[in-house]
């Protein structure tokens, strides 16, 4: 196999990178909301770290669980979702041509609905009427405006998602028999996943929580509501990671001067995510009563299947690096690594995210294994875990993306000093997270619980030791949190500069040239009806009997507990 995967070996027939200016505007508003949510969110994180470590005491008007709710909602839900849609609108315009006026209007409608929902939910969190954490587990009860806001948030993303998918299928219709552009293929897989997953959250919010919060029902089926939440909650994490993978598959090869290793492998990975990331929610409920071992077992097996596409991704990306490094003259087992553009933040920030994904993914396999889950469940280990996955792998990839996406959509240039600032941001975030998340992992193994404000458990020696270790200590968590916050504020500055102050100019939207195997893309991979059908069958298989059981043999309903954590 001596064929080359490299761009410079082939005639360059690329059209100029271009995002239509009206689409750029729609993308830009998403990015703006995302970064403002990010700023508030990380300040919440800082206060949590300091408060838990006993370094500061929160003022009486600010509750720990109130901030924790704001932190989770703003970072995990708002920041991620808005940035993803900003990326999708710009990327679709770049790879599939400008949106039609009708579809662009639909995109705006989605943005407005989502934003109204966000503001409703946020106002209730600020008013301390919704300190129910970002998982809004019953029987904690929030104000009905909070639930209505959540519902609008989800519906708004569906409308925006429909605009993007319609743009993709339009292209497909106009190019019969051609493999669709990878960007659209992957965005569509991600959005189908999001829509199907959102049905679960819509069902529990509209069918259970809203009537309950409005006083139309007195009691709630807690088991069912949690199950519907996690039916949504696991695909949610893939909704974060798939766009990050899109950056890895489609953008990074171009940034390093190469070409994606294989398009079909990338498509296959995304189809596998679509199929297997929904019927697995029980791996978040392994310690929960009311679900038989048999169904927990089935969903655990499916969970391990969904590891495969992530392993495919790790292989693909590394192979792309190696091929590119070698094509550029790198030799030996590893010295080709020197050929990669280490000083370029567009590469370096996502690369650090990839590196962190190794321990993050290993931690995920531990979480998903029944007996091991018993060791780590509800401890700080879990918090350490998702600060690596979403809080570093996804976030650093999105940071790296911001350095070209924002200039592209604002018609500006990434300057040398901004690049340097981005490198500093990346290092600070990585170091801060190493301390914070590392300490959280170990504290968790020692039994320190998550979602707990400052406490010494009446000076119990075990709990006291959590403040005394050198590395395994709440103090280390707090120090890591301070460094992270510094990195976050710097990133916010980078955003402001790139959005409004950087010099005007043309910036490239990096996109890998079509991989060599593109003409041989199996038509089967593009058969959406088939994949959606199989996904539905898998979901019905994994969930029908347990959910039927939860309804027919329902546990006693629970009244609201809305003053416990205020």
């Amino acid at each position: 196999m001596l064929q080359s995967n490299l761009a410079y070996k082939l005639p360059l027939t690329e059209e100029p990178a271009h995002v239509a200016s009206k689409d750029a505007k729609l993308s830009f508003v998403h990015v703006v909301v995302a970064f403002f949510a990010f700023l508030i969110g990380i300040l919440g994180g800082l206060l949590q770290g300091l408060a838990r470590g006993g370094i500061i005491e929160l003022p009486a008007w600010l509750g720990y669980y109130q901030i924790l709710t704001a932190h989770g909602v703003l970072l995990a839900l708002v920041f991620t979702t808005y940035l993803i849609f900003g990326f999708f609108f710009a990327g679709m315009s770049r790879t599939h041509g400008a949106f039609s006026d009708r579809l662009r209007k639909m995109g705006w409608a989605g943005f407005i609905i989502t934003t109204i929902g966000t503001l409703m939910a946020a106002s209730m969190i600020i008013a301390n009427e919704a300190s129910v954490l970002y998982t809004f587990y019953a029987p904690l009860q929030a104000h009905y405006i909070f639930y209505s806001g959540l519902a609008l948030f989800v519906v708004g993303t569906w409308v925006a998602g429909a605009a993007i998918m319609a743009h993709y299928f339009q292209w497909k219709k106009e190019h019969p028999g051609e493999p669709t552009p990878l960007f659209g293929f992957m965005a569509t897989a991600t959005l189908i996943l999001w829509v199907v997953a959102g049905l679960g959250v819509a069902a529990t919010v509209l069918g259970q929580m809203l009537p309950w919060a409005l006083g139309m029902t007195d009691e709630i089926n807690v088991l069912l509501s949690r199950t519907l939440f996690w039916y949504f909650g696991h695909p949610l994490v893939y909704f974060w990671i798939m766009p990050a993978y899109m950056v890895w598959y489609l953008v990074i090869p171009k940034v390093i001067g190469g070409r994606l290793f294989s398009g079909s492998l990338a498509r296959l990975a995304f189809i596998l995510f679509l199929l297997f990331s929904i019927p697995v929610g029980f791996h978040h409920q392994l310690m929960e009563a009311g679900i038989t071992e048999f169904w927990k077992y089935i969903q655990t097996v499916l969970t391990f299947v969904v590891v495969v596409p992530s392993l495919l991704t790790a292989f693909s990306i590394f192979a792309t690096f190696e091929q590119t490094g070698r094509e550029q003259g790198g030799k030996g087992l590893f010295s080709w690594i020197k050929k990669l553009p280490w000083g370029d933040v567009r590469f370096f920030a996502p690369f650090m995210g990839m590196l962190v994904f190794i321990p993050a993914g290993a931690g995920g396999l531990i979480n998903a294994s029944f007996q091991l889950n018993a060791v780590v469940h509800n401890t700080l280990w879990v918090v350490g875990h998702f600060h690596l996955t979403v809080g570093t792998t996804v976030i650093l990839t999105f940071f790296g993306m911001a350095f070209w996406l924002i200039p592209v959509i604002t018609g500006r240039r990434l300057t040398k000093s901004m690049n340097r600032s981005g490198m500093v941001t990346t290092w600070l975030w990585t170091i801060g997270m190493f301390l914070m998340s590392g300490a959280m992992h170990i504290l968790g193994l020692f039994g320190a619980p998550r979602r707990t404000a400052y406490t010494t458990y009446q000076d119990h020696p075990q709990a006291m030791s959590w403040f005394e270790g050198i590395f395994a200590s709440h103090i280390t968590v707090a120090i890591g949190g301070v460094i992270l916050t510094a990195a976050g504020i710097l990133m916010f500055y980078n955003f402001i500069y790139l959005a409004w102050f950087a010099p005007k100019g043309e910036t490239e939207f990096p996109m890998t040239p079509d991989p060599d195997d593109t003409p041989h893309t199996p038509a089967l991979l593009e058969n959406w009806k088939l994949w959606i059908g199989i996904a539905v069958v898998l979901i019905l298989f994994a969930y029908t009997i347990p959910i039927y059981d939860m309804i027919v043999n329902a546990p006693p309903g629970s009244p609201a507990f809305n003053n416990l954590i205020r």
């Binding site: 196999m1 001596l2 064929q3 080359s4 392993l311 790790a314 292989f315 590394f318 192979a319 190696e322 091929q323 070698r326 094509e327 030799k331 087992l333 590893f334 080709w336 690594i337 190794i358 321990p359 993914g361 290993a362 931690g363 396999l365 531990i366 294994s369 007996q371 091991l372 018993a374 060791v375 780590v376 193994l445």
Partner: protein, 51 residues
């Protein structure tokens, strides 16, 4: 003279393995596998000694 021959030979050898060699990737995926394995068993050990 013989040194030059050797050099070209070496050069050719390197060239051959260059283009499509994915040896580094092989080592990398083996490392990832080993890392997963070790960390999994470390926590499994904790589970065992705590029961």
């Amino acid at each position: 003279m013989s040194r030059t021959v050797l050099k070209t030979q070496q050069h050719q050898q390197l060239k051959q393995e260059d283009h499509s060699s994915l040896k580094g990737t092989l080592v990398f995926v083996m490392f990832v596998g080993a890392f997963i394995f070790v960390s999994w068993f470390a926590v499994f050990y904790l589970f065992l000694i705590r029961t």
